[in-house]
């Protein structure tokens, strides 16, 4: 059954006559609410995810600036903070409870709300139907629900910031018993319940979205779009969705058991506890069980964040190098390998929990194995650039930046994945530096690359180019300035989540460094605000897109009208005749996927 039939319910009216089709669309008098709010158009839903993600990005980023202020200037007071945050910043000094709430919410929203919902939510929704040639998702309604579940999750998480005892403050990994015991601290009170409820709803959102993405990619490709003709973005999003669908339910179960332990007196994670002089009755639970459940999602989550960025970067590098992506099949193979291995490495977060050393050794092997597909990807990206004819659009620069950061952060992963070194580096600033570079900043770069590249498709206008260049340069220089020297703190053994090093003889020697990092992070944050300003300004005032295919790209989304309506293509969905990467083939700059193979064309693909 064609998508059109699904959308309009009476296929025979519209299937042949283009003109009639147009008129038919005009009949849909969409109110503001159905067009922009409870929209079932995948493009609008994608934008909703993006804008919600941006809002969370600002909140999460702002929080990082606040706690960096404490880290950089632990001996100074900032009375303005007391004005805004009252007793959380008594006397202008960030209180420990406040600090831990900030880092917890910073981690949670950046990992889940920005880099999961904001990244794959945005680009899966926007790109899947456009790049495989479908009118919309398999189930536009579930797709809409996916956003609204995310929205409710966001509202609850946001509300938790305002409860009297503050939001969750046990770190984004919320290890029990700290997170399970109300008495263990303010951050383990009602804020923690709200965190868990919000995350449960978020997981529902993510599952609804993920199932939809998988179904759509598998079932709704246009004629001729075989799996191996899909652009790599689609492959990456497909694997991302599979990872999410298989791993998020495990986190859900972990979160629900934690809610039971918190509120119903069960002992899944609790045993032998005396908190605040209060002997608890729980016996027989295992605190480590939660870590297994958490990291069974938590590790795939890293790839849920990273894979869409990899997919988009592959596409953008290829388009702007005017060269096919090198080793298309190897790229798919390595995505597949990463996807499988992602499920088999979770315990490398737990080398020092008392894990059986033999079990640990298995996880070392599997963890370091991931470096092989990662290396293949890096070398393939490098070869894609080799002998290209490279255009440096802001999107392309961010894609190159992504590769650079992925290399840097990936290599430090070889330290942490090796249990011997992890004994020393576990839970130090080295870890913070590592995952911020490889997962945080790199994926952010992938996201920026995607936004700059597909903004013309989203809004029919361009982002301001000059601001884009400034944005890129400030961000990449800033990211390296912030996170590169941070590794040294970790090598010195400075633990993460320490808000004040002055009490420590062996750690208290990084004053200048911490000041520098704080100042740079403020500049980088201000730069992101400028990007956001550029984003919203350009939606309304940006330079208009005048050609259908501004980047000279092969993929299907550029065969739609400049401002595609609901249904994407006017008339028939185009048929696909070739893979997505025929750039500079046979002396032609690019050959769109819709063009039939010529009689005298050379053979490859």
């Amino acid at each position: 059954m064609s998508n059109e039939a699904i959308m309009h319910g009476h296929a025979n009216v519209i299937s042949h006559d283009d003109v009639h089709h147009d008129e038919h669309h005009a009949h849909h008098h969409q109110s503001f609410i159905t067009k922009y709010i409870f929209s079932q158009d995948h493009k609008t839903i994608g934008k909703q995810f993006l804008i919600t993600g941006i809002i969370w990005g600002v909140i999460g980023g702002l929080f990082s600036v606040l706690f960096r202020l404490q880290l950089g200037f632990p001996d100074q007071t900032f009375p303005i903070l007391e004005t805004f945050f009252g007793h959380w910043a008594k006397g202008g000094v960030i209180q420990p409870e406040f600090y831990y709430a900030l880092v917890t919410i910073h981690g949670t929203v950046l990992v889940f709300f920005v880099l999961t919902a904001g990244l794959s939510g945005t680009f899966a929704n926007l790109l899947i139907p456009l790049q495989i040639g479908a009118r919309d998702m398999a189930s536009p309604f579930l797709n809409m629900l996916s956003y609204w579940f995310f929205f409710i999750a966001s509202v609850i998480m946001f509300a938790s910031l305002f409860v009297h005892t503050g939001p969750a403050a046990g770190g984004w990994t919320i290890y029990p018993p700290l997170s399970a015991l109300h008495e263990a601290g303010d951050g383990s009170k009602i804020g923690m319940d709200l965190w868990l409820i919000s995350m449960a709803l978020f997981i529902v959102s993510s599952l609804l979205g993920g199932l939809n993405y998988i179904t759509t990619i598998l079932n709704m490709r246009t004629k001729g779009m075989s799996m191996t003709r899909m652009p790599l973005t689609m492959w990456a999003i497909l694997f991302t969705a599979i990872l999410g669908v298989l791993s998020f339910p495990v986190l859900l179960s972990g979160a629900i058991l934690l809610l039971f332990d918190r509120n119903l007196g069960t002992s899944f994670y609790l045993s032998d506890i005396v908190v605040n002089g209060h002997i608890l009755p729980n016996e027989g639970g295992s605190a480590i069980l939660f870590q297994h459940l958490f990291w069974f999602l938590g590790h795939p989550e890293v790839y849920i964040i990273l894979l869409p960025a990899m997919g988009m970067v592959s596409e953008i590098l290829s388009v702007n190098s005017r060269k096919p992506i090198f080793g298309y099949m190897a790229m798919i193979g390595s995505l597949f390998a990463i996807c499988i291995l992602a499920f088999l490495v979770w315990a490398h977060h737990m080398f020092v929990t008392g894990l059986n050393p033999f079990l640990g050794s298995v996880f070392v092997l599997l963890t370091l194995l991931i470096a092989v597909p990662s290396a293949i990807k890096v070398f393939n990206w490098l070869t894609t650039l080799w002998k290209g004819n490279i255009r440096f659009t802001p999107g392309m620069l961010f894609a190159i930046g992504f590769v650079s950061l992925f290399i840097s952060g990936g290599l430090t992963g070889l330290f942490l994945g090796n249990s011997t070194i992890d004994i020393h580096l576990h839970d130090t600033k080295f870890v913070v530096a590592h995952f911020h570079i490889v997962m945080g900043v790199a994926s952010m770069f992938g996201m920026f690359a995607g936004i700059y590249h597909w903004f013309p498709k989203m809004f029919g206008r361009y982002l301001n180019n000059t601001l884009g260049y400034i944005h890129f340069w400030v961000t990449i220089i800033g990211a390296y300035l912030i996170f590169w020297p941070m590794h040294y703190e970790g090598l010195a053994g400075v633990p993460r989540r320490y808000l004040d090093l002055r009490g420590w003889h062996n750690f208290n020697k990084f004053d200048d460094l911490n000041k520098m990092i704080t100042i740079v992070s403020m500049i980088v944050f201000a730069m992101q605000l400028m990007f956001i300003f550029n984003f919203f300004y350009s939606i309304f005032k940006g330079r208009k897109v005048r050609t259908q295919n501004p980047w000279g790209s092969n993929t299907l989304e550029w065969t739609t009208p400049i401002n595609p309506g609901h249904g994407n293509w006017v008339g028939e969905i185009p048929e696909v005749h070739r893979w997505a990467y025929d750039y500079s083939k046979d002396g032609r700059d690019f050959i769109p996927q819709t063009e039939p193979i010529g009689a005298d064309e050379s053979k490859d693909h």
Binding site: P96, L181, V352, P357, S361, I376, G493, R543, D604
Partner: protein, 353 residues
């Protein structure tokens, strides 16, 4: 006032940058978009090259500046620490080489193959030989790293040697407590419901276990270890998960309520030696909590003294088992003291008489 000033400056900077960006767009439209696109391309390609060179200088400078502040390779104060440092060195060399090669290629290619009207991109979709090469080489290198890593890992996580001294470490919000097994070298049994700070039983020792009677409880002061004598730490927690982090010994292990864990190592340098070696008269071994444990996490600090056997014995001999604090009447010293008093009184009494 200062804050306001900064905000105003930021806002102005913001506006100016935006205006410049906007103006540059108009200029590019007037000059011809193609021309300004080419110019932008050249500038950014050049900047990528500058970034590569500047970045590599930065990496070098960063190491010059901070390299001395980290724990120097070889400065570790335990036998396992030497293994960890060795593994770190191997990994650093391998990743360092890969880092320099790949980053250089990335930025160099970007610069070299910037768009030009005269060049045509090379249609190069795949090459099996190349792909096999960069699958196999990383796989071999990683096998080497896994091999070394696991060799050290199994050595570090092996059973503690029989002559190891045992010290129990217990974490709770936000302090460390230690227990030595005493003369019988056995830590007595515990049950968490027996914990009662007021009643001289902070660890929940079961007093009917005789092994408990000579256990020495230490809190609020240094943990004492003997140089060159293996030590096994048995690690517990009373409330939430903590972590015994020993940066100088390169050791670390979580303290999990309900599930005791353990590590062992041999301290190889006394505190005194370290003071000299680090040229730091204030030097002290620190125990840092490395697992988020609540609002006092960042200040959950313990200290360790590593000393000679004689010094240790001198320290230990002055310690009394907690058992006698809980049951003063069982304390032989107290009994003796009592007896002495009785004797003294008895001795005095007759005189008075």
């Amino acid at each position: 006032m200062q804050t306001l000033f900064i905000v105003v400056i930021l806002l102005l900077g913001f506006l100016i940058t935006f205006q410049i960006a906007k103006a540059s767009e108009y200029v590019s439209v007037m000059r011809g978009e193609e021309k300004s696109r080419k110019q932008n391309n050249r500038i950014n390609a050049f900047l990528l090259l500058v970034f590569l060179i500047g970045g590599m200088i930065g990496v070098y400078y960063c190491n010059e500046r901070l390299g001395g502040k980290i724990l120097q390779m070889g400065s570790s104060a335990s036998d396992h620490g030497v293994d960890v440092d060795m593994m770190m060195k191997i990994t650093l060399i391998i990743t360092g080489i890969v880092f320099v090669i790949t980053q250089t290629l990335l930025f160099w290619f970007s610069y070299k193959y910037q768009a030009s009207d005269t060049r045509k991109a090379f249609y190069f979709p795949h090459n099996n030989k190349l792909e096999v090469i960069w699958t196999v080489i990383p796989a071999i290198v990683l096998t080497v790293m896994v091999g070394f890593g696991l060799f050290y890992w199994f050595r570090i996580t092996s059973e503690a040697p029989g002559n190891a001294m045992v010290v129990e470490v217990t974490g709770s919000q936000f302090k460390w407590e230690f227990r030595y097994p005493g003369k019988d070298k056995i830590l007595g049994k515990k049950y968490f419901k027996e914990i009662n700070e007021a009643n001289n039983n902070p660890l929940g020792q079961l007093w009917d276990d005789p092994a408990n009677h000579d256990d020495i409880y230490v809190s609020g002061e240094d943990m004492h270890l003997v140089v060159n004598k293996p030590v096994k730490l048995v690690i517990n927690s009373k409330d939430v998960i903590h972590d015994v982090g020993l940066a100088q010994f390169r050791m670390k292990m979580d303290a999990v309520p309900g599930t005791p864990t353990s590590i062992w190592f041999t301290p190889t340098k006394t505190t005194l030696q370290m003071k000299k070696e680090m040229n730091d008269p204030e030097f002290v071994y620190e125990i840092s909590c490395d697992q988020m444990c609540g609002k006092g996490h960042f200040s959950m600090r313990g200290t360790i003294v590593v000393e000679t056997q004689e010094e240790f014995d001198r320290w230990m001999v002055a310690k009394k088992p907690k058992y006698y604090a809980a049951f003063p009447e069982k304390d032989p010293d107290a009994m003796k003291a009592k007896a002495d008093t009785v004797k003294t009184i008895a001795a005095v009494m007759p005189q008075k008489k």
